[in-house]
C-alpha cells in the first residue's frame, strides 16, 4: 500500500516539476509574503493628509507639516476640488476676509476633520502647558502582520487543494485516470497520496511565508502540526472539483463559489465579537483559523491549539470521507 501511495506521489511530483506547477505553488505565496512584508509598515503608521491653500502664511504651513502630510494648492477652488476627491482629506483655505476656513466634504471620518481643526487651533493660538509622557509597552501596534500571515496560510492551503482539483479534472478529461483505475490502487490510496503530496509542499511553503512575515518568534513545530491537521480541509476543494466537475470551466465555477466560503468566514470572524463566534462553529475553515490563532496571536482564541486542531482534522476528514463516496463512483477506483 505504502509503495503504491509513493508511486502516485512520485507521478504527481514528476508532473508538477515538468509543468513548473510546483515552482508557482511555492514561489507565488513567497512573493506575496515579501510584498506584504514591505507593505505592512505603511499600514501601521498612517499620517493624516490635509489640503492647504498656499496663500496661508508659510510658518503655519511648515508647522502643519510636523503634524500631517500637507498638500498645497494655489487657491480656494483647488482646495475644494481636492477635498471632493474620494479619499478622506479635509482642506484649509484663506477666505476673502483673511480668515481661515476648514472645509470637509461631509462623508469623512469625523475624527479626521476634528484633527485638522485641533491642529490649526493649536498652531494659531500657540496653546501649550501640559506635560505628556509616552510609555510604549510593545513593538507592534496592530495584529495586521499576524492576520496577513494566517490568511496567506489559508490561501496556500486552499490554492493547493484547488490545483489538485484541476489536476484530477485533467486526469479525467485526458483519461489518464483510467490507468490508475485498472491498477491495484484503491480510492483510499489515491486520496492519501494526493493528501500527502499537498501536505509536503504546503508545509514547506507556509514555513517560508511565516518566516518572511513574522520571523522565528512562533512555534514552527506547532505550525507543522497545524498544517497536518488542516490537510483534509485544504484538499477538500480538490476532491469536490474532482468529484463534481468534468471540465475546467465547471471546476472554476465551483472553485469560485467555495473560495469566499473558505477565506471569508475566518476573515469575518476577526471583526465579529467573540460572543457571536458560535455562528462559525459549523465551518471547518474557522477551526483551522483558530488553530493558527493559537500559534500567532497573544489573545485568547475560541479554543486551545489541540482542541481546535482536532476539530479541524475530524471535521475535514468527515467531509473528505463523504466526498470520497462520490469520487469513487466518478473515478471508477476500487
Amino acid at each position: 500500500m505504502i509503495k503504491r501511495i509513493f508511486n502516485i506521489i512520485r507521478q504527481d511530483l514528476t508532473g508538477a516539476l515538468r509543468d513548473n506547477m510546483l515552482l508557482y505553488v511555492i514561489l507565488a505565496p513567497i512573493i506575496l509574503a515579501i510584498g506584504f512584508r514591505l507593505f505592512i509598515p505603511s499600514m501601521e503608521g498612517t499620517v493624516l493628509t490635509v489640503a492647504m491653500d498656499e496663500r496661508i502664511p508659510a510658518p503655519i504651513i511648515e508647522e502643519f507639516k510636523t503634524y500631517m502630510d500637507v498638500k498645497l494648492f494655489s487657491d480656494e477652488k483647488e482646495v475644494r476640488d481636492r477635498v471632493m476627491r474620494v479619499d478622506d482629506v479635509p482642506g484649509i483655505f484663506l477666505s476673502e476676509d483673511g480668515g481661515y476656513t476648514v472645509i470637509a466634504e461631509g462623508n469623512e471620518d469625523p475624527e479626521i476633520v476634528e484633527a485638522a481643526t485641533i491642529v490649526l487651533q493649536k498652531i494659531v493660538t500657540g496653546s501649550e502647558g501640559i506635560e505628556i509622557a509616552f510609555n510604549q509597552l510593545r513593538d507592534d501596534r496592530t495584529y495586521f502582520r499576524e492576520y496577513v500571515t494566517m490568511v496567506l496560510i489559508l490561501l496556500v492551503a486552499l490554492m493547493s487543494g484547488w490545483i489538485e482539483g484541476f489536476n484530477i479534472v485533467e486526469e479525467r478529461a485526458t483519461k489518464a485516470i483510467n490507468a490508475v483505475s485498472v491498477s491495484p490502487t484503491s480510492l483510499t490510496e489515491y486520496m492519501l497520496s494526493k493528501m500527502v503530496f499537498v501536505m509536503l509542499h504546503t508545509v514547506a511553503t507556509v514555513i517560508i511565508v511565516s518566516l518572511i512575515l513574522v520571523g522565528v518568534d512562533v512555534s514552527y513545530v506547532n505550525l507543522v502540526i497545524a498544517m497536518v491537521f488542516s490537510v483534509p480541509i485544504g484538499i477538500l476543494l480538490g476532491f469536490v472539483l474532482g468529484a463534481l466537475t468534468d471540465n475546467q470551466i465547471s471546476a472554476m465555477g465551483i472553485g469560485k463559489f467555495f473560495t469566499p466560503i473558505f477565506l471569508t468566514i475566518p476573515i469575518v470572524s476577526i471583526f465579529v465579537d467573540k460572543s457571536w463566534h458560535w455562528l462559525f462553529f459549523i465551518f471547518p475553515p474557522y477551526w483551522m483559523f483558530v488553530t493558527l490563532e493559537n500559534i500567532y496571536m497573544d489573545t485568547t482564541p475560541a479554543a486551545g491549539f489541540w482542541l481546535a486542531g482536532f476539530i479541524t482534522l475530524v471535521s475535514g476528514s468527515i467531509l473528505v470521507f463523504i466526498i470520497g463516496k462520490v469520487l469513487k463512483r466518478k473515478l471508477n477506483l476500487r
Partner: protein
C-alpha cells in the same frame, strides 16, 4: 463581422454546455443572500481606556457626562497596562496632577511616528483645555460641502465591493480557463490555420465576457439595491471595467501552459487588485501607489453612481483612466496572443 459573430456564438455555446449559466446563477444567489444578511451597522469597540488619578476626578466626570463607555474608565495605571498588554490596538491615558501641574501619560503599543506623537499632544492639550473650562475661541470657520450626506449601511457599502471584486473579475478568470481548455483540446491549433484572425479571437472572447459580466452585475444591483440608479453610467462603467479585466486576464493567461501554473499567479494579481479595498473601507489611507491600481477608481466610482454621490466629473475621469488601461491591455493581449499563444506548439 460574420466571422466575429460565428466565434462569439461558438464561445457562448462552449460556456453554455459547461453549465456556466447555472454556476453564475448560484453565485448570484449566494452574493445576494450575503448582501441581504449583512447588518446595517457593526458596533465599533472603543479601544481607548482612561484612568483619572486626580483628586477631583475632573477627567472622569467629563468623560461620563460626554457619554463615554463606563467600562473604558479604569481604576489604576496597572489596570491600564494590563489592558494595553492584552490587546495591541488598545491605548491607555492617565491624568495626574503633580505639584499643581497636569501630566498625561499615554500607554500604547507600537512605534509612534513623530507626526502621530504631535497629534496626540495636540489632542490631549485640547482635552485638558475642555475639562478645565478654558475658553476656546475658534480661529477658523467650518464649512461642510454636503452636510446632508447620509452614512451608508454595511450592506450598501458591500454592493460596490461585490461588483468590483466578484462580477467584474468574472472575465479575468474565465477567459483564462477557456484559453487553457482550447490548448488542452487542441482547438487553438485549429484556430491558428483558420482565416478568422487574432482580432476576432480577442474581440469575441472579451465582448462575450464583458456582456455576461454586465448582465451578472445588473442583476446583482437590481436584487440588492433596486432600479433607482443611473443605469447608463453604471453599465458603461461596469462594461469598460470588465472589458479591461478580461483583456488583462487574456494577456496574463498566455504566459502559462496550464491552469495549475496560472492559478497562483492569477490569484496573486487579484490580491494586488484587492488592495484598494483598504482605501475603500478607510479612505484616509490612500497612498499614491494604491490609487494607480485600476480597481481603485472603479470601486469608488461604482459607489458614486449607485448612491448618487454626484462627485462632479468623477465618472468621466474614471472612464478616461479606464479607457487608457483598456487600450494598453488590448495591445498587450494582442501582442501576447499573436506572438505567444498562436505560435505555441509549432
Amino acid at each position: 463581422m460574420k466571422k466575429f459573430f460565428t466565434l462569439l456564438m461558438q464561445e457562448l455555446k462552449i460556456i453554455y454546455r459547461n453549465h456556466f449559466v447555472w454556476f453564475t446563477l448560484f453565485l448570484l444567489a449566494a452574493m445576494v443572500i450575503v448582501v441581504w444578511l449583512l447588518p446595517s451597522e457593526i458596533e465599533h469597540k472603543n479601544s481607548n481606556f482612561f484612568y483619572d488619578a486626580t483628586q477631583s476626578k475632573m477627567l472622569e466626570s467629563r468623560l461620563v457626562s460626554a457619554g463615554f463607555p463606563q467600562e473604558n474608565i479604569v481604576g489604576s495605571i496597572e489596570e491600564i497596562e494590563e489592558i494595553i498588554k492584552d490587546d495591541r490596538s488598545n491605548v491607555g491615558i492617565m491624568l495626574e496632577i503633580i505639584d499643581g501641574e497636569a501630566k498625561f501619560t499615554v500607554v500604547y503599543n507600537g512605534k509612534l511616528l513623530p507626526q502621530e506623537e504631535k497629534m496626540i499632544i495636540a489632542g490631549l492639550q485640547r482635552m485638558y483645555d475642555e475639562i478645565t473650562g478654558s475658553e476656546i475661541v475658534p480661529v477658523f470657520e467650518m464649512e461642510t460641502i454636503r452636510p446632508e450626506f447620509k452614512p451608508l449601511t454595511i450592506s450598501e457599502i458591500s454592493i460596490p465591493f461585490v461588483l468590483t471584486y466578484e462580477t467584474i473579475v468574472l472575465g479575468y478568470l474565465f477567459v483564462a480557463v477557456m484559453v487553457f481548455l482550447e490548448k488542452q483540446e487542441g482547438s487553438i491549433r485549429v484556430y491558428r490555420v483558420s482565416p478568422s484572425g487574432i482580432l476576432n479571437y480577442i474581440l469575441a472572447k472579451s465582448i462575450l465576457w464583458m456582456v455576461l459580466s454586465v448582465i451578472y452585475s445588473a442583476l446583482l444591483v437590481i436584487l440588492t439595491y433596486g432600479f433607482n440608479v443611473n443605469w447608463a453610467q453604471l453599465l458603461l462603467l461596469l462594461g469598460i471595467s470588465s472589458l479591461f479585466m478580461t483583456l488583462f486576464g487574456l494577456f496574463v493567461s498566455t504566459f502559462f501552459n496550464s491552469i495549475s501554473e496560472w492559478l497562483f499567479v492569477a490569484i496573486g494579481i487579484l490580491i494586488l487588485f484587492s488592495f484598494p479595498q483598504i482605501s475603500y473601507l478607510s479612505p484616509s489611507f490612500s497612498p499614491r501607489w494604491i490609487t494607480l491600481i485600476p480597481t481603485y477608481p472603479i470601486i469608488f466610482t461604482v459607489k458614486d453612481i449607485i448612491f448618487d454621490i454626484g462627485r462632479e466629473g468623477a465618472f468621466l475621469k474614471t472612464m478616461g483612466i479606464l479607457s487608457i488601461y483598456t487600450v494598453v491591455a488590448f495591445v498587450l493581449a494582442y501582442i501576447a496572443v499573436n506572438r505567444k499563444l498562436m505560435r505555441e506548439g509549432r
